[in-house]
Subunit: 291 residues, 2 copies
């Protein structure tokens, strides 16, 4: 450490706290490609071994002192938090002295779902580590959905009407901090996400369709996904990936519309290839309220 450029946040390595799934590595790759160094902090039990191809270390949920020292040693001033977090059993937590002081806040976090825990940990981390939390949208904008089609297919006129209705529903639900996605088919809203997650609503529509309870024929219907208006996208960027496209195809939907520049697409090439194979579209549309 030479006291020089590492105090310029952009020149200093970016710390990346890594949860599960493929996104942490994809974010790290995109950041490295942009010319910035990275230092990955894997959450034990959540992150995969693939993070080890970058400079890295491991820590456990409940530790504060260790990740702080590691980040300081690596010269990080900015931190990005990416990936799913599997909540360890309370008994498996190794709390250090500082996190013991924060125990009441942790217990509070334990009442929520995974996203809530992740956001909660992020807020605690920002306060206790004195790091600036940055979003994937800032450090790896190449991973965000562009406008227009991924792959070969695009929404029909009917699909476009469904997309417009879906965005209108998401906008109407904006004040209520509900889900990030809806499914609309031929002007009928089939499912609204609240606490069950996007995969949950796709599976539900598949099941309703299988028992003949949906009037719009197979091959119609769009999953529409966009951030909530008040969502802190630094911490909780909506994301789609290969599984989303596969589930959408299995549910007999025509495709997926995502808010361009506001939804993360994990493995964009694989997503485009899967969409082409399944003959569904994945399409970036202007975010509600953006224009």
């Amino acid at each position: 450490m030479d006291g020089g450029p590492q105090f310029e946040p952009k020149a200093a390595p970016l710390g990346i706290v890594c949860g599960g799934g493929g996104l942490p590595v994809q974010v790290a790759e995109a950041v490295v490609r942009s010319g910035r160094k990275v230092f990955l902090l894997g959450i034990e039990g959540s992150a995969g071994r693939a993070i080890e191809k970058f400079p890295h270390a491991w820590f456990r949920v409940g530790q504060i002192r260790r990740p702080r020292s590691l980040l300081q040693e690596a010269g990080c001033h900015e931190l990005c938090i990416v990936g799913h977090l599997v909540r360890p059993a309370l008994t498996a937590l190794r709390l250090d002295r500082e996190s013991l002081r924060m125990l009441p806040q942790f217990v509070q976090l334990y009442r929520g779902g995974d996203d809530r825990l992740l956001s909660g940990v992020a807020a605690l981390v920002e306060r206790s580590l004195d790091m600036r939390i940055v979003g994937v949208n800032e450090v790896a904008p190449a991973l965000l959905a562009p406008a227009g089609p991924f792959g070969r297919y695009a929404p029909s006129m009917d699909d476009q009407e469904d997309i417009a209705l879906g965005l209108a529903v998401l906008t109407a639900l904006g004040p209520f901090d509900i889900g990030q996605s809806v499914i609309v088919a031929r002007r009928q809203v089939l499912a609204v996400e609240a606490s069950e997650g996007t995969d949950g609503i796709i599976e539900r529509v598949a099941a309703l369709r299988a028992k003949g309870a949906i009037s719009a024929p197979p091959g119609t219907g769009v999953l529409v996904k966009a951030p909530k208006p008040q969502q802190d996208i630094r911490l909780d960027l909506p994301a789609i990936g290969l599984r989303t496209v596969e589930n959408v195809a299995a549910a007999g939907l025509a495709g997926v519309a995502v808010a361009a520049q506001s939804v993360l697409v994990a493995d964009a090439d694989l997503v485009a290839a899967a969409a082409d194979r399944a003959k569904v579209f994945v399409f970036g549309v202007p975010a509600p309220g953006s224009g």
Copy 2:
């Protein structure tokens, strides 16, 4: 027929087209109690034998001439349509000449869920039978939820805030013809009904709660149910019953709030007793937009 009072709609017997469940008999009993005669037309495969304690006849979905003759013979000018409709297989339909002419409209109906089919049949019936369709709210207002508590329990202050939020969500979704119900717990919207039905969202919350994905503790959360703003409540009055209360209790919710005078309560006494047994509330609140 003496050309006399039977031409006064209220003096003529009320025709009741009966689908499945206990409601048709309860409506018939309430109408008889109000001093009006009834003539029940059971839909084969849907209505139960219990309707036979009233003047009645049976017909099949797909017949038009027969129910029209039966209603004319009975001197009916007004018709109420109540109960679930089990859609018979297309091959089981016995179409008469008139319904054959309407086949394209029937095929259209077959694409929808049960409620849609019922409403669609109702519209066809009104046109083809020249009957005035009346709602249960008009002929048996005693079956509607009154304001205030059923049984012993009432919403806490927390529950009342959840109810207010639930009504606000339903109002925001009003323009979109989505579901009639939401579940809210401690200011978090857990589930929004779209095409899965009210039992569907209760079961979903039960499952999410069982896997620890809901932050509000067991014993909190309210099912809020009200008609959609543009809903034709003559044909499609929201309803709750014993099963609703049992499901709500099984999902660990605190209770059910329904729009007073706009939601049907099947077996109100049994509902109140079940609510008391399960220590949940069932509570009539002012309908959104009614104040």
